[in-house]
C-alpha cells in the first residue's frame, strides 16, 4: 500500500445531472442535480424515503438511473455494476455489512479481487501483508487471520472501510455508519474519517443523527421526497434548521413535555429481583409503575437486550422473584409473557420484529391471533383492525394489502409497535424503538410512548441514544458489563452522567 504515502490520492468530484429513478413506474428521484466537491466530508440528510439511499446506489453502480446521469471528475459515467464503480474508486458501505462471516479479515478484504501468484494460485502472503497495512491505516488492532465472526460490530465496520481502502477508494459512501456503534466507537470512526479526508478521500455520510452530522461534516446536502433541497456549509446551519429542511416544515419540539412520575407508593406493574442471564446479566432488579417510563442505558454489549430476552424466556435465565401486576409468576416463553400482559419489541426489526414477507394485516394480528379465531379466522375483522392501526399509529402506506417490506423504515417501526401493542399489554418493553427512523417518525413514536404511559401502562425503553432517554424517561437505569451501575432521575439525567456511569468512570 505504498501508493498512499508516495502518491497522495485525489478525492473524486461528482456531479449529478437531473438524475431520475423509477421503480415499476413509481418515480422515487425527480431530477436530482448537485455537486460533491473533492476531498470533503458531506452529510447527506433526508427522511426515510427521501431518496438518499437510491441516489447513492446509483452513484455506486448498484442501480442504473432511469434518466439523467452522473459525472465523475467532469466525465459522464454510467457504471455497469458496483465492481465498475469500485474500479473508478467509488465504494458504498452498506448499513448491513457485506462480509462473509466464516472467512478471515484478509480473505474478506480481498474477496473478489484476490491476489495471485504467477502460477495462478492465491498469494496468501501478499494478501495478508496488504490487509495488515490497511488495517493499520484504519487503526484496527486485529490479526488479518481473525475470522470475521469473532469481531464486534464496530470492528466489522472498520474491516469494511479497510476493504474499501484496499480497493483504492477515492469516494467513500457510508450509510448510517454509527447506527449500531457506542459513543466511544463513534468517536473513533470520526477520527478515522478525518484522517481519510486529510489523505484526500471524499466521504459521503448518510445519517439521521444531526448532532453527529454537525460535528463531523464540512457541508450538508438535504433531500426531500426524491428532490434536492439544499446544499450548505455545515457551520452555517443549526440542527433545528437541518431538521426543518428535511421535514419541509417547522418541526415542533421532538419530545412531549414530561408528566410527573407516579407516586412511590403506587404498587409496581412489574417487579424483578435477582435476575441472572448467564454470560450477560447478573443480579438485576427493578420495578416499573403504571404511567412510568423507565429507561435502560449502557454501551453495546452491556447486556440490556439479553437481559430482557432472558426475562421473556428466550434465553436461559434464573430469577429470584418476578411479579407482574402484583402476582408472583414465572415466564417461560414470550407466549407466557404476552398472556400475562408483558410484550417486547425487539431491536432487530427485520430479524426478530416483523415478517417482512408477510402482509401488514398478518403482522399486526400475529401476537393476538386467538382473538380472531372463533375458530375460523375472520380476515374482514383483521382488516378493520389494520385500518384502525394505520390511522392510530400514522402508518403511511398507499395500499394496506401490501407486504411489510414495502414500507419505509419508520413506517415498519410503527407497524412493529402496533403489533406488540395489539395483545393489549400492561407492561411494554421497547428495545431501540427509534433505530433507523427519521425525525418525523421519531417524534410520532415519542408522543405515542407518552400516550401509552398516560393510559396507565408501564413502559421500559432500551436505547443507545442518550438524548432520547433523557428527553423521555422518568428514571434511567445504567448498565455496565451485565450489572446495574446506577439509577438516575430528575436533574441527574444528563449525557455526561449517563456516559460516565456507562463507561465506569464514575462510581
Amino acid at each position: 500500500m505504498q501508493w498512499i504515502t508516495l502518491r497522495p490520492i485525489m478525492g473524486l468530484a461528482v456531479r449529478f445531472d437531473g438524475v431520475v429513478k423509477e421503480f415499476d413506474g413509481v418515480r422515487v428521484l425527480h431530477g436530482v442535480s448537485f455537486e460533491l466537491a473533492p476531498g470533503r466530508v458531506v452529510g447527506l440528510l433526508g427522511e426515510n424515503g427521501a431518496g438518499k439511499s437510491t441516489l447513492m446506489k446509483i452513484l455506486a453502480g448498484y442501480e442504473a438511473p432511469t434518466d439523467g446521469g452522473v459525472a465523475v471528475d467532469g466525465q459522464a459515467r454510467r457504471f455497469d455494476g458496483s465492481r465498475d464503480a469500485e474500479a473508478a474508486g467509488i465504494v458504498l458501505i452498506h448499513q448491513e455489512f457485506n462480509l462473509a462471516e466464516d472467512l478471515t479479515i484478509a480473505q474478506n478484504i480481498w474477496l473478489g479481487h484476490e491476489k495471485k501468484t504467477p502460477l495462478g494460485l492465491l498469494d496468501d502472503a501478499a494478501m495478508r501483508a496488504g490487509a495488515a497495512e490497511v488495517l493499520a491505516q484504519v487503526g484496527l488492532q486485529r490479526s488479518p487471520d481473525t475470522p470475521v465472526r469473532e469481531l464486534i460490530v464496530a470492528e466489522k465496520q472498520m474491516v469494511e472501510i479497510a476493504k474499501a481502502l484496499a480497493r483504492r477508494a477515492r469516494l467513500l459512501i457510508m450509510d448510517e455508519p454509527t447506527a449500531t456503534l457506542t459513543p466511544g466507537e463513534t468517536e473513533a470512526l470520526f477520527a478515522l474519517m478525518a484522517r481519510l479526508k486529510a489523505e484526500g478521500v471524499t466521504i459521503v455520510y448518510i445519517s439521521h443523527k444531526l448532532d453527529e452530522v454537525e460535528r463531523s461534516t464540512d457541508e450538508v446536502v438535504v433531500m426531500r421526497d426524491g428532490r434536492f433541497v439544499a446544499r450548505e456549509p455545515t457551520a452555517s446551519l443549526t440542527r433545528r434548521q437541518m431538521a426543518n429542511l428535511m421535514v419541509g416544515r417547522e418541526l415542533a419540539d421532538l419530545y412531549p413535555p414530561k408528566d410527573a412520575p407516579p407516586a412511590a407508593d403506587v404498587p409496581p406493574l412489574l417487579a424483578v429481583e435477582g435476575l441472572d442471564v448467564p454470560g450477560w446479566a447478573e443480579d438485576i432488579g427493578f420495578e416499573v409503575r403504571p404511567g412510568e417510563i423507565l429507561g435502560f442505558a449502557g454501551l453495546v454489549g452491556a447486556g440490556r437486550t439479553e437481559l430482557f430476552e432472558g426475562l421473556l424466556g428466550l434465553r436461559p435465565h434464573r430469577v429470584r422473584r418476578l411479579a407482574l401486576q402484583g402476582r408472583t409468576t414465572r415466564l417461560r416463553s414470550p407466549r407466557d409473557a404476552a398472556d400475562q400482559g408483558l410484550t417486547y419489541l425487539s431491536e432487530d426489526r427485520k430479524g426478530k420484529g416483523l415478517h417482512v414477507d408477510f402482509g401488514l394485516r398478518q403482522n399486526l394480528t400475529l401476537m393476538a391471533l386467538q382473538r380472531y379465531a372463533r375458530p375460523w379466522l375472520k380476515p374482514q375483522d383483521e382488516r378493520s383492525a389494520l385500518h384502525d392501526a394505520v390511522r392510530r399509529f400514522g402508518i403511511r402506506t398507499g395500499n394496506t394489502e401490501t407486504r411489510a417490506s414495502s414500507l419505509s423504515g419508520g413506517n415498519q417501526q410503527k407497524l412493529a409497535l402496533a403489533k406488540v401493542l395489539h395483545p393489549g399489554p400492561k407492561v411494554l418493553v421497547l428495545d431501540e424503538p427509534t433505530r433507523g427512523v427519521d425525525v418525523g417518525a421519531k417524534r410520532d413514536i415519542y408522543f405515542l410512548i407518552q400516550q401509552l404511559a398516560r393510559e396507565g401502562r408501564g413502559l421500559i425503553v432500551v436505547s443507545s441514544e442518550l438524548v432520547e432517554l433523557i428527553g423521555l424517561c422518568h428514571r434511567v437505569i445504567v448498565m455496565r458489563a451485565g450489572r446495574i451501575q446506577a439509577v438516575l432521575s430528575g436533574d441527574q439525567l444528563s449525557e455526561e452522567e449517563l456516559i460516565a456511569h456507562a463507561t465506569g468512570t464514575r462510581h
Partner: protein
C-alpha cells in the same frame, strides 16, 4: 406522500396482486394444457372412467402431499413418508391378521386397523417433531434417519418378503379402496376431504397462520409469542396422520406390504408440493396448488401410458423436466 403518488402505488400494487394471482394459476394452466394435449392424442383420455382412474391413483400421493405442504411451508421437510407408509401398512396388516386369528369378526377388525394406521402415523409424526424441536436436529437429518429405520423394520417383519392380509379380511376391507359413492371412488372422496380440510386449516385457522409465520421467519415468530416448538410438532403429526390415511386406503388395494411399498413416495409428494408453487424454503404455499401439482404429475404418466409418443420408461424423466420447468418459471418470484 402526495395523493397522486399514493393512487399510483395503489394501482401498481393491485396490478401486482393480479399478476400474483395469475402466477398462482400457472399450475392449473399447465394442467389444462396437458389435458388438452391428452385429449388430442388419445380420445380415451377425456373419459370419466379415465379421469376417475387418474384421481384414484393420485389419492395416495395427493393426501400425503397435503400434509407435506404444511411441513414445507413451516420450513421443514420429511423424507421418510414412503418408508413410514410401508411400515404402517405392514403393522396394520399384522395387527388385523392377529385380531382375525383371535376370532374377531371382520368389520371391527378393519375399523380398528384403520384407526391404528392413523394413530401410528400421528405417533411417528410426533416423534419426528420432538426430535426436531427438543432434540434440535435438522428435519432433513431426522427423517433421513427414520427413512432407513422404518423401511428396515418393515423388511425385518416381512422377512424380506411380503406381509399379506388374510383373505376374509381383505374381502371386508376391499370396498375402502374399490368402493364407489355417487359414482366416485372412495379414495377420491377421501382425497377431496383431506384437501378441503387442509386448505381450511392453512388459511383460516390461527394454527395455519403460525405455520406460515414460522416458515417465513422462525425468529420473528418466536418473538411474537408463537409457540414454535408446539406448532412444529403438530405439523409433523399432521403429516403423519395424512400418511396414515393414505396407507389405510392403500392396504386394501393390494392387501399386502413389502419392502417396495411406498418406494419414492416422499419424492413424489415433495415434487407435487413444489410443482404446486410452494417454495422449498417455506413461508408461503397453497393447498390448491399442491393438489393440482399432484394431479398434474399423475396425468403425465397417464398420458404416456395411453399414447406411444414417448416411452413409458421415460415417465420419471418427463416428470423431472416438468419440475425443472415449473421451478424455472417461478424463480423470479423469490
Amino acid at each position: 406522500m402526495r395523493p397522486e403518488r399514493a393512487t399510483e402505488t395503489g394501482a401498481r400494487a393491485t396490478g401486482r396482486a393480479l399478476w400474483g394471482r395469475l402466477h398462482g394459476l400457472g399450475p392449473i394452466a399447465g394442467l389444462v394444457l396437458l389435458c388438452l394435449a391428452g385429449t388430442l392424442l388419445n380420445p380415451d383420455f377425456a373419459t370419466l372412467d379415465n379421469a376417475m382412474n387418474v384421481l384414484t391413483r393420485t389419492a395416495f400421493i395427493g393426501i400425503i402431499a397435503v400434509g407435506m405442504c404444511f411441513v414445507i411451508i413451516s420450513g421443514g421437510i420429511d423424507l421418510s413418508v414412503g418408508s413410514m407408509a410401508a411400515l404402517i401398512a405392514g403393522a396394520v396388516i399384522l395387527l388385523m391378521n392377529a385380531l382375525g386369528a383371535a376370532g374377531w369378526s371382520s368389520t371391527p377388525v378393519v375399523a380398528l386397523g384403520m384407526v391404528f394406521a392413523v394413530l401410528l402415523g400421528a405417533l411417528f409424526g410426533i416423534a419426528h417433531g420432538l426430535l426436531i424441536t427438543r432434540g434440535r436436529i435438522e428435519p432433513f437429518i431426522v427423517t433421513l434417519g427414520t427413512l432407513g429405520i422404518f423401511r428396515a423394520y418393515l423388511t425385518y417383519f416381512s422377512n424380506g418378503g411380503a406381509i399379506t392380509l388374510e383373505n376374509a379380511l381383505a374381502d371386508a376391507y376391499g370396498p375402502v379402496f374399490y368402493g364407489h359413492l355417487l359414482g366416485v371412488p372412495v379414495p377420491v372422496w377421501v382425497f377431496a376431504a383431506v384437501a378441503l380440510a387442509g386448505a381450511l386449516i392453512l388459511n383460516r385457522t390461527a394454527y395455519g397462520r403460525y405455520v406460515q409465520a414460522i416458515g417465513s421467519n422462525e425468529q420473528v415468530a418466536r418473538y411474537a409469542a408463537v409457540d414454535v416448538d408446539r406448532i412444529k410438532v403438530l405439523t409433523y403429526m399432521l403429516l403423519g396422520i395424512c400418511v396414515g390415511i393414505a396407507t389405510l386406503l392403500y392396504v386394501p388395494r393390494l392387501g399386502s406390504a413389502s419392502p417396495t411399498t411406498g418406494l419414492l413416495w416422499e419424492l413424489e409428494a415433495i415434487a407435487a408440493v413444489i410443482v404446486g408453487g410452494t417454495a422449498l424454503k417455506g413461508g408461503a404455499g397453497s393447498i390448491t396448488g399442491t393438489v393440482v401439482g399432484a394431479v398434474l404429475l399423475s396425468v403425465i404418466s397417464n398420458i404416456l401410458n395411453l399414447t406411444s409418443i414417448i416411452s413409458v420408461y421415460l415417465n420419471a424423466a418427463v416428470q423431472g423436466f416438468v419440475i425443472i420447468v415449473v421451478a424455472f418459471m417461478q424463480r423470479r418470484r423469490r
